[in-house]
């Protein structure tokens, strides 16, 4: 790592023009951030609303759903590499047992389903965490608001839209901030599950960057990381500006 030759913007030009799909890696990163967060936040919101009301065993359900998020991603990746195995992985075995054999897939090597598998594993780990934050937000809403809405004849969706969501901006902001930063920097789970494959289909910025680093192409690795830095900086500065505005209002 001793000799450095400055080559101007050549690395950046290569990223966007070469046939090595680096640009696709950048798009994949953004895609993962958006889709994984939509999946986790919407389903966690419904779960939180469901588990907040009187339902037997809700504390047990809450604890169970939270457990995956305390484990390292790496471990979860390895566990799911076994579960998603085509021949005797647990998922395909269960599908067979339920007579749903037609749903069986080469989860980690078929181009059409590999992203679904990644989103699934990611949601499996992340939903409990997002839900816990939503539950804390829900607990601050006074019950009288719902009673008032019910007297006015609001149905479930109307209550969710007009009472729950506006009262939970804090929890939603936190989840978005954590979710977006996590999504843009995602590495472990993709590295372990697919290592960017099949081909380069699931490559994201961080996995490309690590491969380049491991092959000694430090310049290109840094260039890719810088692009990630610019993307996160733009989003991060917007969020921090928003937060400082909120603080002033308080």
């Amino acid at each position: 790592m001793q000799d450095i030759n400055f080559i101007g913007f050549d690395n950046y030009i290569e990223i966007f023009t070469s046939n090595k799909n680096y640009a696709q890696g950048i798009i994949n990163t953004l895609k993962f951030t958006v889709i994984s967060n939509i999946i986790k936040i919407t389903s966690a919101l419904f779960l939180a609303v469901m588990l907040q009301k009187e339902i037997k065993g809700r504390n047990i359900y809450r604890s169970i759903l939270y457990i995956p998020s305390i484990l390292p991603f790496l471990i979860i990746g390895i566990i799911f590499k076994s579960i998603l195995n085509y021949n005797n992985g647990l998922l395909n075995t269960v599908l067979d047992a339920l007579h749903l054999g037609f749903l069986k897939q080469q989860w980690l090597s078929d181009l059409n389903v590999v992203w679904k598998a990644i989103y699934g594993v990611d949601a499996w780990r992340g939903i409990g965490y997002v839900m816990t934050i939503f539950l804390a937000g829900l607990n601050t809403i006074p019950n009288s608001y719902y009673e008032a809405a019910e007297i006015d004849g609001a149905n479930f969706l109307q209550k969710l839209w007009h009472v729950t969501l506006p009262m939970m901006t804090g929890a939603i902001t936190i989840n978005l901030v954590f979710g977006i930063t996590y999504g843009l920097k995602v590495f472990d789970i993709i590295y372990v599950l697919t290592n960017g494959g099949p081909g380069h289909a699931t490559e994201v910025i961080t996995t490309y960057s690590y491969t380049l680093f491991a092959n000694g192409k430090y310049g290109m690795a840094t260039a890719l990381n810088t692009i990630l830095f610019v993307i996160t900086a733009l989003i991060g500065i917007m969020i921090v500006k928003y937060m400082s505005k909120m603080e002033v209002q308080q």
Partner: protein, 273 residues
């Protein structure tokens, strides 16, 4: 009434299904870690024919787990402890000194929460100051990574401590250090424990930092040791699963001991308003 009953049963059904989906993988790992090689290769949920506790002994020896454990513990404990104390001191000053400069510094630090680490440049800096490929380097990288989160969480808590306490202590003749360590830090204890536990678990789970920063297997934390072991043992799932159980055990223990603090820390930001 009937409709309510049906909805309730549906909810229970959803909850039970989801719980099963969450628990099944753990159960799979647990039972398979005690099986023989051929049994484990089938990766099913059946009870092991005989319980092979020896799998764990093999893993501890072959997987270099004792070294991995001590590295993980060193990284997680030292960086979380040092990081939390440093950040508490910084958060105290930042939140008490209400000048324009400290506000700017505060938001600059918070920006660090979003930015990715550029490991190539980090390694060059480490080379320059002579701590590349040392455990000290890994610990310093972890500490700097946790600064934004810690200052944000602890800073919010500092706001809730009345300034009158500082004033009373200063009038009684306490200097800055005495004021912080004798008066403020005990009041901050709950949030310090929370951030310590969260950071401890975070460092324990981190895979990317040691992957970039440790060139010799001597420096590997458990995570990296497991990954490497998994690469060597892809056909010996019983060992891989036993290794997974041993790696998860410490984090799960820490979680259950500190559950109250951890959940309150996670949710503190969302109920602030």
């Amino acid at each position: 009434m009937v409709k309510k009953r049906v909805i309730y049963l549906l909810k229970q059904l959803v909850c039970i299904t989801l719980s099963v989906i969450v628990i099944a993988p753990f159960y799979l790992v647990f039972v398979n870690s005690f099986k023989t090689k051929n049994e484990a290769a089938r990766m099913n949920l059946s009870w092991p024919k005989e319980w092979l506790f020896s799998n764990y002994l093999v893993v501890i020896k072959e997987g270099n787990l004792i070294q991995g454990f001590s590295n993980s513990f060193l990284y997680a404990f030292v960086s979380a402890a040092v990081g939390v104390i440093i950040c508490a001191m910084a958060a105290f000053v930042i939140k008490r000194r209400k000048s324009k400069l400290t506000r700017r510094i505060y938001y600059l630090i918070i920006c660090g929460f979003f930015f990715p680490v550029n490991f190539v440049t980090l390694l060059r800096i480490f080379n320059f100051i002579g701590i590349a490929n040392t455990r000290l380097g890994v610990i310093i990288a972890f500490i700097s990574g946790m600064i934004p989160f810690c200052i944000f969480t602890i800073g919010n808590f500092v706001n809730s401590i009345p300034v009158e306490i500082d004033e009373a202590a200063v009038i009684d003749g306490a200097n800055g250090l005495l004021l912080f360590f004798r008066i403020i830090m005990p009041l901050l204890m709950p949030v310090l424990i929370t951030t310590f536990l969260l950071q401890f678990m975070g460092v324990w789970s981190d895979f990317m930092t040691p992957l970039y920063l440790s060139s010799t297997s001597k420096m590997w934390p458990m995570n990296l040791a497991v990954y490497n072991f998994f690469g060597k043992m892809t056909s010996n799932w019983q060992y891989v699963f036993a290794d997974i159980i041993l790696t998860c055990l410490p984090v799960v223990t820490v979680y259950f001991i500190g559950q109250k603090y951890i959940i309150s820390g996670l949710t503190s930001g969302s109920v602030k308003q």
